[in-house]
Amino acid sequence: MKGQTGGDASAPAWSRRRLLGGIGAAAGMAAASIIPLTQIPVAESQGAAGQAPAKSGARQWAFVIDMRRCDGCLYCTKACQKEHFLPKDHEWIKVFEIKDRQGRKSYMPRLCMMCENPPCLKVCPTAATFKNPEGVVLVDQSKCIGCRMCMAACPYEARYFNYKDPIKPPSPFDNPMPEFPVPQQKGTVGKCILCVHNADKGKLPFCVDACTMDALYVVDLNSDVMTNGSGETYVFSKYIYDNDAYRYKEELNTSPRVWYVAGHGQALDF
């Protein structure tokens, strides 16, 4: 039959179609090789709690927020802004007031959810957003072009754009890097970094340290341990099971790494 040369042994070895196909494939490969493969972000660890770490000895950071304890004092927000030299409108940890049907208030702190499947990372055109081996989503502000696509993509509105000149820290020895982006860079996007710079020094994130209500816990999924600013320590998997912890907007398949424990009695109508 005409046009079916695929299995025909008598067809010339290099028909025009095959030649064109070959050229097309070569062009495709050439185009693909222009894009540095190392720039394509690879989710470093898709595994949840209990899986082998992506890197030997690496932690897998996560977070627990106990809304039964949060009283909306905003110490976490203030500590974060002070320590990272952030302006007032950059609330890397932001506390939302929720009212139930009886008008009773509860508070919901929101930080970066450190999604295992982060929408912000997928849409970043220059791979400035990446995930470190410990599962922390970070921004390399020296690569960010400021298109703000990630801000539109983040379902948690956890990203902040530096419209103005950033606040300068007093130290002249500042060395901004993704793990400690201080000072921020004007015209780029910043976000919660789960204070990975502190983790290496054995310190807690600033918000956890500042929380006088002990409502914030930092978690290592690998060792299955969680702890708060007062040193209360629990087995993470047992704690979230016993307290019916949930993840915010889990249905979006972002696999967030922040677990919430709902407050007492509220209708939680949100």
Partner: protein, 445 residues
């Protein structure tokens, strides 16, 4: 009137603007240059102080610039697709319009393609899109399709221009400066009008007319995906790509009507561009408006029936909330009234159709704003606070500059090449004399 004398009339009318501008031309050109310069100053100010000079904030992080990108690019590929479809279907009345459509397409694309750069927080890092380009990002898809489109568009405009460049080379030689003489000679690519050349050119134009349709459609589709790959309410929609394509053609044809009306008067082309052209495009606009309404209704009915969470409150915001007056202004003023104006025989004339087209273009500008901003202005977190976004003078000045850049570019284009494709008129009279046989018909005043 013999065929050749009609042709020489067309040639004269089409070539006159190439030869001299006149004081009116210079006055309008100067005015547009001033508007563009003000936009340039505004952008310089933005470069200095950053995007803080805009009305954008942490909530509404995309505003006028992104909606302008959709609007201006929309006019561009709308015009390109309309021209390609007219060429392929070979409607007889298209001959006076295709050159104009293709020029509008290029001018609007050049104006629109600046907005992604203007919107960047770090424009000096724009080249990182190539250095670090991450193919999974819709922003990179955009860079690819827009670049591709611009190249295709230049070819699409250039191919039918070759015989006209040859005409300028042969007929205007002694009346032009050296630079233009040499340029026309180079751009004409040795065109002599032989049958072989004509055949190749005809084939080339046909191929480009077919190619430009998917290439142009890719742009609004990918622009639409900038929004619909996110989960923002109002953006999270499967209908967005065809919706944007249709909106583009709708606003592109309306823009053609406006520019056609201006050019007809300014360049004295009443005998070439007739009321018939306006009527035919008017019918097209009614069909496009109906199709756009159909898309809107099918989107809002299916979402409004469910009124799920964030999408529901987004619909309330548009239909009955703070932005309702803008939305209904668009529906009535930008779609229904223009449809009626063109449909009623009493107003179905050049003036009526032009006024309707102005309303459509303004309406589509508003609609683009209503797509971009409310999707961001309403938070998807447990807070009711709605942040109002208002553009600052910087954003307004840059927008006006881009709008002025389109007629400004067209004025330059039509000084460089004929506003009507002489070659296409000749094609209607294959027995007519070749360009070199008709000497000295240019008769500038």
């Amino acid at each position: 009137m013999t065929a050749s004398s009609m042709e020489s009339g067309i040639r004269e009318a089409a070539i006159r603007p190439v030869l001299r501008g006149g004081w009116r031309w210079w006055a309008i050109f100067a005015l547009l240059t001033v508007i563009i310069s003000v936009g340039g100053v505004a952008y310089a100010y933005q470069l200095k102080d950053g995007l803080a000079v805009t009305g954008l904030d942490q909530r509404t992080s995309w505003g006028f610039y992104i909606s302008n990108l959709i609007f201006f690019m929309g006019i561009s590929y709308g015009a390109a697709i309309a021209s390609a479809v007219m060429r392929l279907t070979d409607v007889p009345w298209r001959r006076g319009l295709t050159r104009m459509l293709e020029s509008i397409a290029l001018a609007a694309a050049l104006a629109g393609a600046l907005f992604p750069v203007i919107d960047l927080g770090r424009p000096e890092r724009g080249w990182y899109l190539f250095r670090y380009g991450q193919i999974g990002s819709p922003v990179v898809w955009d860079v690819i399709v827009v670049t591709n489109y611009l190249v295709a568009l230049i070819l699409f405009l250039y191919l039918p221009l070759i015989p006209d460049f040859a005409y300028c080379r042969d007929q205007l030689g002694d009346r032009l400066g050296r630079v233009r003489r040499v340029s026309y000679r180079a751009l004409a690519l040795g065109w002599s009008g032989q049958p072989g050349q004509r055949k190749v050119l005809r084939q080339g134009i046909t191929v480009m007319s077919i190619l430009i349709i998917p290439v142009a459609m890719a742009v609004p589709s990918v622009l639409a995906w900038l929004f619909s790959v996110t989960v923002r309410p109002g953006w999270n929609s499967t209908i967005f790509a065809p919706y944007f394509v249709l909106g583009a053609v709708f606003s592109g044809v309306a823009a053609l009507v406006i520019i056609m009306a201006v050019i007809r008067k300014a360049y004295h082309l009443e005998s070439i561009i007739t009321e018939q052209h306006f009527r035919m495009l008017g019918y097209g606009l009614i069909a496009l408006a109906g199709a756009y309404l159909y898309f809107m209704i099918s989107e809002y009915v299916t979402e409004g029936y469910k009124m799920t969470g964030e999408t529901g409150s987004q619909l309330e915001l548009l239909m009955t909330g703070d932005l309702a007056w803008v939305f209904w202004l668009f529906v009535v003023g930008g779609v229904l009234l223009p449809m009626a104006t063109i449909a009623i025989p009493l107003t179905r004339n050049i003036l009526g159709i032009t006024v309707a087209s102005i309303a459509i273009v303004l309406g589509m500008f508003v609609k683009r704003f209503l797509i971009v901003v409310p999707g961001l202005a309403e938070s998807v977190l447990p807070t009711d606070v709605l942040k109002a976004y208002e553009p600052t003078w910087v954003e307004v000045a840059i927008t006006l500059a881009a709008a002025a850049a389109i007629p400004w570019l067209l004025m330059i284009f039509f000084r460089l090449f004929p506003v009507i494709s002489i070659h296409e008129f000749e094609a209607a009279h294959p027995d007519g004399p070749p360009p070199s046989a008709v000497a000295g018909v240019t008769g500038g005043k």
